[in-house]
Each structure stands twice: as C-alpha cells, then as structure tokens.
C-alpha cells in the first residue's frame, strides 16, 4: 500500500517529465500569444511594436478568413462523410469469408502509410494532371476533353486525396469493431426473419457506434490541420478556393511575412478547434461513456 511518503516521492520523480511536457506545450503557445499582440513583420526585424487586438481584428475581417473557414468545414465534413460511409461498407465486406483476405486487407490499408506530401504529388502529377495524368489519358481514350481537376474543382480534388489517405484508418478501426460483433446475434435475428437492412440498422450500426465516434473524433483533429496536400497541389488557389485556416495562417506568416497576423490566426484556429471539439464531445462523445 502506498504511504504518503511514497506518494510524495513518486510525484517528485515524475515531476521532470511533467515539467518538460508542460514547457513543451506552453512555451510555443505563450510565444504565439505574445507575437499575436505585436506588429511583427519579417521584412523589418527588430522593429516590433505592441498593437493590441489589431492583428485579431485584421485576421477576422479579412475576406479570406470567411472563405478559409468555410473551406475548412467543407473539407472536414466531406472527408468524414466519405471515410465513415465507405469505411463501414469496407469493414463489413472485409469481415466476410473470402480467399486472400489478408492480402486484400493489406491492399486496402496501404494508402495510410503513404506520406501526405508524396500522396499529394502522386495524385497531382500522375492522375489529375490535365496533360500527362492518367485521368486525362482515360478521358482522351473515351473521346472526352480532359478535366482540369485542380483548377475547376480544387477543394473536391483535395477532399478526394485526403479521403484516399484516411479511408484505411476508418476501415481498420471499424473492421476491428466488426470482428467483435457476436455472430450469434446476427444468426438469431436472421432466424427471426429480420431483413438484411434491419440487421444492419438495428444490430451492426449500434455495435459500430463507438468505433464511428472514435473515427470521427480522431479524424476531425487531424483534418482541421490538413496542410501538405493543399501546399503541394493548389497552393490554396485558385484565389482562396482551396485555402483552409491552416494554410491561411501559413500564408499570412510566411508568404506575407506578417508573423503577428499569422500568430493571431493560429490562436483563432486553436479556439475554433476547441469549439469544434466541445461540440463533437457533446454531440457524439456520449457514445464513449461506458
């Protein structure tokens, strides 16, 4: 049994790790907050002045912010819809008896191990390129005009690329949940005359609800910060058609050399991400309660 003395010793021994972790998180955050109140341009270093809330006002009233915010929501919701719906379908399919099941599972999971930058480059140059891309060759073979994906449907193209990367994650989580589903329940319902749809809706889907919640929560966190795919494929364009909040913060800081504005954008992004997290936990987090 732990005594008060041993508890104090334990706290003392873990304190270096806790202090290090706190410093790791709090120092960058504190510096970002500090910079966000400065007029800090990389073009005039050493001339920083305090500006109060000006950077926040500027960032929030910038027309690009509304576009970036809308694009971020569309990107997150679009990818979530595609990955969750297809993930459920794939998980059910991969749970069925078949020849070469292990190999098929590896084929489906493989895209998750491709780095975002590589994946974006592959899709941009080898598939979506209107001259040399595979889709362009396929369109020409069918007598059609090649479609310029990244110019005419930039956000949809990015949603496609990101969905391809994240579908394996959703499938993997949902497949493990499917494997824990008691087959006798399904057989009993089948013997009672339940249709395939009823079995899916009343047995499979409720069983998957917790896994779906995990997929949505984890993916949302990562999808709010999608950056490499946008930088590599469209650079946020045309105009702001595919700019999300993360890319806007980058553009403000490093393309317009406005560290103060970029820092204010970063803090706004953190606040927005927390608001989304609170909503998500309220709406679907109850599924995680034991």
């Amino acid at each position: 049994m732990a005594t008060a003395h041993s508890k104090t010793a334990a706290r003392f021994m873990i304190s270096p790790a806790v202090v290090l972790l706190l410093a790791w998180m709090i120092v960058p955050l504190a510096m970002t907050i500090y910079f966000s109140f400065l007029r800090y341009s990389l073009l005039s270093p050493g001339e920083e002045t305090f500006t109060g809330w000006d950077n926040y006002t500027y960032f929030l009233t910038d027309p690009a912010f509304v576009a970036a915010f809308t694009n971020t929501i569309i990107l997150v919701v679009g990818v979530l819809l595609i990955t969750v719906i297809l993930g459920i379908a794939l998980a059910i399919l991969l749970d069925q008896p078949m020849w070469g099941q292990g190999i098929v599972r590896i084929l489906v999971i493989a895209p998750f191990f491709v780095m975002p930058t590589v994946s974006a480059l592959v899709w941009k140059n080898m598939f979506m390129d209107p001259v040399n891309g595979l889709f362009a060759h396929a369109a020409k073979a069918l007598g059609l005009q090649p479609f310029e994906f990244l110019s005419h449907a930039p956000l949809a193209s990015i949603i496609l690329i990101v969905s391809w990367q994240w579908l394996p994650f959703a499938t993997l989580i949902l497949l493990t949940a499917m494997q824990s589903l008691d087959q006798e329940q399904l057989e009993a319902s089948e013997m009672d005359g339940a249709s395939k749809w009823s079995r899916f809706y009343y047995i499979v889907l409720p069983h998957l609800s917790r896994a779906i919640t995990v997929v949505i929560l984890i993916q949302t966190i990562f999808l709010l910060s999608v950056f490499a795919e946008i930088l590599v494929t469209t650079n946020g364009g045309p105009g702001t058609a595919s700019t999300n909040i993360t890319y806007l913060v980058y553009a403000q800081s490093l393309l317009q050399f406005d560290v103060g504005g970029g820092s204010a954008g970063g803090i706004i992004a953190v606040i927005l991400a927390n608001i989304v997290a609170i909503f998500l936990m309220r709406m679907i987090g109850k599924n995680l309660e034991a």
Binding site: L94, M98, V108
Partner: protein
C-alpha cells in the same frame, strides 16, 4: 457454431473485395511501376509495365 458459407457466396465476396482492394491500392502500384520508367515513358500512358 459458425454458419456454413457456400463457395459461390465466398467467390462473390472475393471478387468484389479484390476489385475494391486493387482500386484503392492502384495509385501506389502505378507510382511503383512509373518509378522504373524513363521520363518520356512516364509521360505517356503505354506501356503499363516498364520495358527493361
């Protein structure tokens, strides 16, 4: 006890799953095959398999 599965049912699942699996894996396969091609070969559609 696990339910018996007919071969026909298993074949259907196998075909559908392999088709989808290959479709999802295709970009990686295509990248791998293109890595063996010359720049000129990479710009055109044929040949699918690089000529060694």
């Amino acid at each position: 006890m696990a339910r018996a599965v007919t071969n026909q049912r298993k074949l259907v699942f196998t075909l559908v799953a392999w088709t989808i699996g290959i479709a999802i894996f295709f970009p990686i396969l295509w990248t791998f095959l293109t890595s063996f091609k010359t720049e000129a070969e990479g710009d055109c559609i044929a040949p699918l398999i690089p000529v060694l």
